[in-house]
């Protein structure tokens, strides 16, 4: 484990813990956000019969870095009427909220920020931070569009946490663990051990669980999509209605923080979906390292699979964004309360019965 290695190196568990928890940020999220922004631009461009950024570097690969540099230089515009403390805290808080989730996501079997036993519960908790910061941003901006966006967003995020949590509870009843690390460990071996296919083991319950697991995966994917405010659920920042929603008034680096947080969030929810249902960092076909007897290769393979699965779900999110129109705010609520939550409840009950039997 990285944490053990670090604490023996430094000789202080607290400092080692802090460093360990910060590692995902610098090793993964910041570079990933850069890649994801470029990916979004390229994916959307090719879907729309365009080329996307082409001039900065080969096929525009350093475009995002150039954009970030530009945003650093931008003037930080702040209206006289804003509530300054809240206005300044909000982007940082968003960033913290989306980053803190990564601390409990296992990247490989050896690399996890903190080994929390309540991993998934913790993640759901800190991701609610987003609501607070969005409300702060919307209220402090003193802008009607921002306020409307923030109100929509708060309603949306609070509602969509419920189906997510119900599905997570379903998984907890099946697996009996709330640690994402344990959950990922359980799904080792081949892809038929993944939770979407009923989890490890080979018995009747596994096959009975398959349809309910698929329903659960769909529900959790839809509701996480709504939690990261992506189309078709991007009503809080609906650009054709509310200009830019809660971050209308932000510029420069503060805007960039919202922006990076959005992409970090996209990856976080993708990682959660893949950890819950698609084996997390586990390879679908077994490991080359085990085959060759090179044990140090295994974590790298795991990192590869983890990134690949995460990127795959991020790609699906982008795909949806550039294909679908946007829902209206009342339809968004209807979808959550009238469809997702009843289905999630029914799913939970049936799965609970199956597990008990």
């Amino acid at each position: 484990m990285i944490f053990d290695w670090l604490s023996s190196l430094i000789g202080n568990e607290i400092i080692a813990g802090i460093i360990c928890a910060c590692l995902p940020l610098f090793l993964f999220i910041l570079p990933f956000a850069l890649v994801a922004v470029l990916m979004e631009r390229k994916v959307s461009a090719h879907m729309q019969d365009r080329l996307g950024p082409m001039r900065t570097g080969y096929h525009g690969i350093i475009q995002t870095i150039a954009d970030i540099l530009k945003l650093f230089q931008k003037e930080d515009i702040m209206s006289n009427e804003v509530d300054k403390p809240l206005f300044n805290i909000a982007p940082v808080l968003t960033f913290i909220g989306s980053y803190a989730a990564f601390a409990a996501i296992p990247f490989t079997s050896n690399f996890i920020g903190t080994k929390l036993d309540l991993g998934i519960v913790y993640i759901l908790g800190v991701s609610s931070f987003g609501v607070v910061s969005i409300l702060m941003a919307g209220w402090s901006s003193n802008n009607k569009y921002s306020l409307l966006g923030a109100m929509r967003s708060a309603a949306q995020l609070v509602s969509y946490e419920i189906p997510t949590f119900l599905v997570v509870v379903t998984l907890i009843t099946v697996t009996g663990t709330t640690s994402l690390l344990n959950l990922s460990e359980m799904q080792t071996g081949h892809f038929w051990n993944w939770m979407i296919l009923g989890g490890p083991g080979l018995n009747l319950t596994k096959f009975l669980l398959i349809p309910f697991m698929i329903v659960g995966a769909v529900i959790v994917f839809i509701s996480t999509l709504a939690e990261v405010n992506r189309t078709p659920f991007d009503v809080p920042e609906a650009d054709s209605e509310l200009v830019a929603g809660y971050y209308t008034e932000y510029s420069g680096m503060k805007f960039a923080m919202f922006f990076l947080a959005e992409y970090a969030n996209m990856f976080a929810v993708s990682a959660i979906v893949s950890a819950l249902f698609f084996g997390g960092y586990q390879s679908p076909f077994g490991y080359l390292g085990n085959l060759l007897g090179v044990s140090w290769l295994v974590p790298f393979e795991q990192l590869f699979w983890f990134t690949l699965k995460g990127c795959l779900f991020v790609f699906v999110q982008m795909w949806l964004r550039w294909t679908l129109p946007r829902l209206r705010v009342d339809q968004l609520m209807t979808l959550c309360w009238k469809y997702l939550i009843p289905f999630a409840f029914a799913n939970l009950l049936i799965v609970g019965l199956l597990v008990v039997l």
Partner: protein
Amino acid sequence: MALKTEEMVLNMGPQHPSTHGVLRLELELEGELVLNVRPHLGYLHRCFEKHCEAMTYPQVIPYVDRLDYLAAMSNELTYAITCEKLMNIQVPERVEYIRVIMVELQRIASHLVALGTFGLDIGAFTPFLYCFIDREKILSLFELTCGARMLYNYIWIGGLSHDLHPDFIRLAKEFVQYFKPHVAELNNLLSYNKIFIERTANVGVLPLEAAINYNITGPSLRGSGIKWDLRKNDPYSIYDKFDFDIPVGKGTFGQVGDCWDRYFVRVVEMEQSLRIIEQALEQIPEGDVTSALPKRVKPPEGTVYARTENPKGELGFFIVSNGSLNPYRVKVKPPSFVNLTVLGELCKGCFISDVIAILGSIDIVMGEVDR
């Protein structure tokens, strides 16, 4: 204790991504509900009508282009027809055919912008760009013909500025073949999308009676379920020679006259325009397009009114001539302006998102609203 509440007044525009130009909407909101909408106009007013009085008749044509700048050819045709009616000019057969081809291509181009931006207002970005790719092809045809892509000055009083490019007929036929499957693609991508239907069906329902009372014209009127198209009902140019249908709103996914109906009428109209273009390209005769151009446009004293079916609705010009080289008075009956008047009625009691959808579905161009 009840909380003190008050309505919020939201100024949407004049700089807003989906007010289609510099329209300013004053929304009275109660949360997300819209209580009242008041459009404020005039940000693009450029004294078109007064300006015309200081110009000779042909000099007005470039300014006519700038009314509905997404359908410049159609505006030119209306103005030319009005002046020809005033001066009693018969234009050659070939000119009529070329005019019809141009105007119908222009109708497709204008509808493509309308449908694309409507999708964009609903939140679908990709169909917008697909529409623009096709529109670019039409603009290239126009560029081939007269050198301009947006404001053409091509249809003159009594004829055309010059004849078609030798390649035009071939390229236009290619375009018709190329564009046909794209309508189906647009339908699959946007028209029959479940979310799109949810957003547009039963939203902004315009009953037939209200539509007639407000003098709504064009696709917005036909969306309410009445077959009224000047190309059929009051034929001008040579529209009586072609075989085409007038689509009307049927309330496929909701009530008759909702946003989806208005949207879909435009989709079907594009297909019908393709039919007209195909027939015209087959039948087009040879001839001289400049033979009927008058040396000096000096109409006799009198008044005249002529109207045509523009992509956005019924465009009419009322011209008073005092026998001099300049028109004494030019009055425009602009479809966008008239159609915009119904917005307040449609938007009462809907959501903010619906205001955007309704505004997109009545398809206005600010250049024509403000003149």
